[in-house]
């Protein structure tokens, strides 16, 4: 990526350009195994992106029937059979960590494969470049049109191309919002003008970013804006597969004709520039590994085709590790691909990645779909009643994380002789266990008052149990939540009971 401005070396030799105009990239169409793989990845990625929100998933009458839904308004994350509540966000954090380690794994094994095939910037740039070829023709036609004056035909072609850009961008930006609400409903609301303003705003912003980044910025995003190439470059090592021009085999380069005339034998590179012509970021891979190379391997396809045409073996440009490059230079046997991919570093990444995945799956299987949390009142800590009994108040949250209403039973464990009632009950109806109906997929907040018995009885009990008889202090007890239905389940929350004289220690 040398920035040779011809003006610099000519008459304006003292002036230095602080800014550089983008040099257009007009990649030539190419076919080959890597191009076909790129097609496959593109179809899969775009299919997942556009298709996922429309998958339906029956969750019964109390929950949305969209398979993947990020329900920000109700703070729920649905993914097929999994429902994540905000307090279980560590599952999402775990997924993100897995994604991070997955990138380490992929990068250390096969280099910048993410950049070359799966990154949205790459996928959409590729899509837009196909649109260019469809409207303007291949590389040479595009270059001619670029230089041509603005005739009616050029204006027409540009208008048509940019309209198609905009339509693709709109489809891209518009699809994003379906992940956050029921897709068919939102689709209807969107076109009837009844959707939330944030839906239109999001669609507009993402349409414009797709239009600008995919249609015009393209490789500029990779080279100047994205931090990932820098990080990936740091994670590559001498055993990572990168797209390599085998200079020891190709140099000195020269055409077939000049090779015949040359005094000393030339290398295999015929300097046909096909590798440069097909590159979607406009670089010359023969200058060596560089930050502009997203390792999409289209130059491998192009070079293999050229080598086949002149009857030389394929792989002048190929996936190759630095270690293998050294070996090949010395004429030694290169390492088998499997051995290159499965080595201690990648196996450790794979192990960590799988361990996190397995742990999360295990936790998903183990997690209870009911939950109790207790917050004791601190102000006042206790209330003295006229008959000498003491009352403490607690704010209790019952979580029913099932997609159906459930009946829960909350009972006191410990604190014998105490009873409780809620702020919606009469104090006389206080009991040691209470039953609540909690609606589907909600948190129920309760005010619970616990009244302990008279001080003399309390004192006796304290004496009975006080002398190291029990490990628990007097005031410690627990609220126990159980579900009396077939599915069952249990949770408990420890708390304490305060007396005027303290916790009874």
């Amino acid at each position: 990526m040398t920035a040779h401005d011809p003006k610099l070396s000519a008459d304006h030799s003292n002036e230095i350009g602080l800014y550089e105009k983008r040099k257009g990239v007009f990649p030539k169409a190419i076919n080959g195994p890597f191009r076909r793989f790129k097609w496959l990845v593109m179809i899969v990625c775009l299919g997942i992106y556009w298709g996922t929100p429309w998958i339906r998933w029956d969750r019964g009458p109390y929950a949305p029937n969209q398979a993947v839904l990020i329900d920000l308004a109700h703070r729920r994350f649905f993914m097929f059979d999994i429902e994540i509540w905000p307090h279980e966000f560590y599952f999402v954090a775990g997924l993100l960590i897995m994604a991070g380690i997955g990138l380490f794994l992929v990068t250390s094994a096969v280099g910048r494969a993410w950049c070359g095939y799966a990154c949205p910037q790459t996928v959409w740039t590729d899509l837009f470049q196909h649109v260019d070829r469809l409207i303007d023709g291949d590389r040479n036609a595009q270059l001619r049109l670029q230089k041509a004056p603005w005739t009616a035909s050029k204006i027409g072609k540009r208008a048509l191309k940019w309209t198609i850009y905009l339509l693709i961008s709109f489809a891209t930006g518009g699809a994003w919002i379906f992940y956050f609400a029921d897709a068919p409903t939102l689709q209807y609301d969107f076109w009837t003008g009844a959707a939330d303003p944030v839906a239109y705003g999001t669609t507009f912003i993402l349409t414009m970013t797709t239009f600008i980044f995919g249609g015009f910025m393209r490789e500029q995003v990779c080279v100047y804006m994205c931090p990932w190439p820098r990080i990936q470059t740091a994670m590559l090592d001498e055993k990572s597969l990168i797209v390599t021009y085998k200079d020891w085999r190709g140099e000195p380069r020269g055409s077939v004709k000049s090779a015949v005339k040359a005094a000393t034998p030339l290398g295999d590179c015929i300097d046909c520039m096909q590798c440069v012509a097909v590159c979607p970021t406009g670089i010359d891979i023969r200058e060596g590994p560089q930050i502009g190379c997203i390792t999409c391997a289209l130059c491998i396809d192009a070079c293999d085709k050229a080598m086949a045409d002149v009857g030389r073996p394929r792989g002048l440009i190929d996936y190759c590790t630095l270690v293998d490059a050294e070996k090949e230079k010395k004429g030694e046997e290169s390492t088998p691909v499997l051995k290159t991919i499965f080595r201690p570093r990648t196996l450790i990444y794979l192990g960590v990645w799988s361990a996190i995945g397995a742990a999360m799956l295990f936790m998903l299987g183990q997690r209870a779909r009911l939950d109790i949390s207790v917050a004791k009142d601190r102000n006042p800590e206790f209330v003295m009643l006229s008959d000498g009994t003491v009352r403490n108040a607690y704010t209790i949250k019952l979580r029913n994380m099932e997609e159906r209403p459930r009946t829960f039973r909350v009972a006191l464990e410990g604190l014998e002789g105490a009873a409780m009632f809620t702020d919606e009950m009469d104090a006389a109806a206080a009991k040691r266990d209470l039953t609540f109906r909690v609606p589907a997929d909600t948190t129920q907040r309760l005010r619970i008052y616990v009244v302990d018995q008279r001080p003399e009885e309390r004192g006796e009990r304290h004496r009975e149990h006080g002398e190291g008889h029990r490990e628990r202090g007097y005031g410690e007890f627990a609220f126990v939540l159980t579900a009396p239905d077939d599915e069952g389940g249990m949770d408990r929350s420890e708390t304490n009971f305060t007396l005027p004289e303290g916790h009874g220690e």
Partner: protein, 307 residues
């Protein structure tokens, strides 16, 4: 500037400057970066024009959009009021008893009352409604004037000893010591008796003398056994709860100089819905009593929480 050359390691041209062997590579910024920088400048100028931006002596420039954070808050508060308008109208129409009987209205009133309590009541009764010396604890089951929701509502509407309100809760304990009704020794005897009936002291000679003085001077309001009277707001003396303290010093002070606690009449200060919500909230704090049967209002005054 003639020493421009291609750097060996990077293959990039240098700009030709050299300082003690340190050279600068010529890697120009992309042109679009410059345009996005200009766009940011244009944006910030436009922002300064349409939104409050420049600090002046007493406030910032207003901005042509006329946006203010206070204005936005006002808008949000209005939207919230509009959202709650239906519920507030229902609470306005319903009587305090109807609210208590309807779980949905009751829940709404408790939540609204909690918010109003934090604004109007915590100054005296405390954040947790636990009160302090002279300011009743609203969580407990001991009520001076009655603890059913309608009575609490009445107390809130007209206050306690609020001057100028005819329906206010009114009573006055004589200052037995200060006004010379009892001698200081007699005051101590009465205090001894009160401490005996509240279970804080063992009977003594002093308390026996005090019992006679109590019978002669105090039973009219506080009852023969110190059970108190809600008709005149006379506290129950034979329990564990004290408004001004149950130790000898505090009781001596009370009997000598009497007490005269005042609560404002909130009916004149707050709108009717807020007062209803406050009454419902205070009633829900754990000591609320059931409404007394109409025929025998005093009979139901026994604490509901007693076990």
């Amino acid at each position: 500037m003639s020493n421009q050359r291609i750097d060996d390691a990077t293959g990039v041209e240098t700009v030709g400057h050299e300082w003690d062997g340190i050279e600068e590579l010529n890697n120009p910024l992309p042109r679009w970066w410059l345009w996005s920088f200009y766009a940011c400048i244009a944006f910030s100028i436009a922002y300064c024009v349409v939104y409050p931006a420049w600090p002046m002596i007493d406030k910032a420039t207003a901005g042509t959009f006329g946006w203010t954070s206070r204005g936005q808050l006002d808008q949000e508060m209005k939207a919230e009021a509009a959202r709650k308008a239906g519920l507030m109208a229902e609470l306005d129409k319903a009587s305090i008893e109807q609210i208590a009987a309807d779980p949905r209205l009751r829940r709404a009133a408790i939540d609204g009352g909690r918010a109003a309590f934090k604004v109007n009541c915590i100054q005296c009764h405390g954040n947790g409604a636990a009160g302090s010396a002279g300011y009743p604890n609203l969580n407990d089951d001991d009520w001076l004037w009655g603890g059913d929701v309608a009575t609490i509502h009445q107390t809130l509407m007209h206050g306690v000893r609020q001057p100028g309100d005819d329906a206010t809760r009114m009573s006055q304990m004589p200052a037995f010591g200060r006004d010379g009704i009892l001698t200081p020794a007699q005051v101590q005897d009465v205090v001894s008796h009160v401490r005996v009936i509240s279970g804080q002291e063992k009977p003594s000679g002093s308390s026996q003398r005090g019992a006679e003085i109590f019978a002669a001077n105090c039973v009219a309001c506080h009852g023969a056994n110190g059970e108190g009277s809600r008709a005149v707001g006379a506290p129950k003396l034979a329990d564990a709860i004290w408004l001004y303290g149950g130790d000898r010093k505090a009781l001596t002070q009370t009997v000598t100089n009497a007490r005269y606690g005042v609560m404002p009449a909130w009916g004149a200060r707050l709108d009717p819905v807020t007062v209803k919500m406050l009454a419902t909230y205070v009633h829900s704090l754990g000591g609320g009593e059931e409404a007394p049967a109409p025929a025998a209002p005093e009979a139901a005054a026994a604490p509901a929480a007693a076990k």
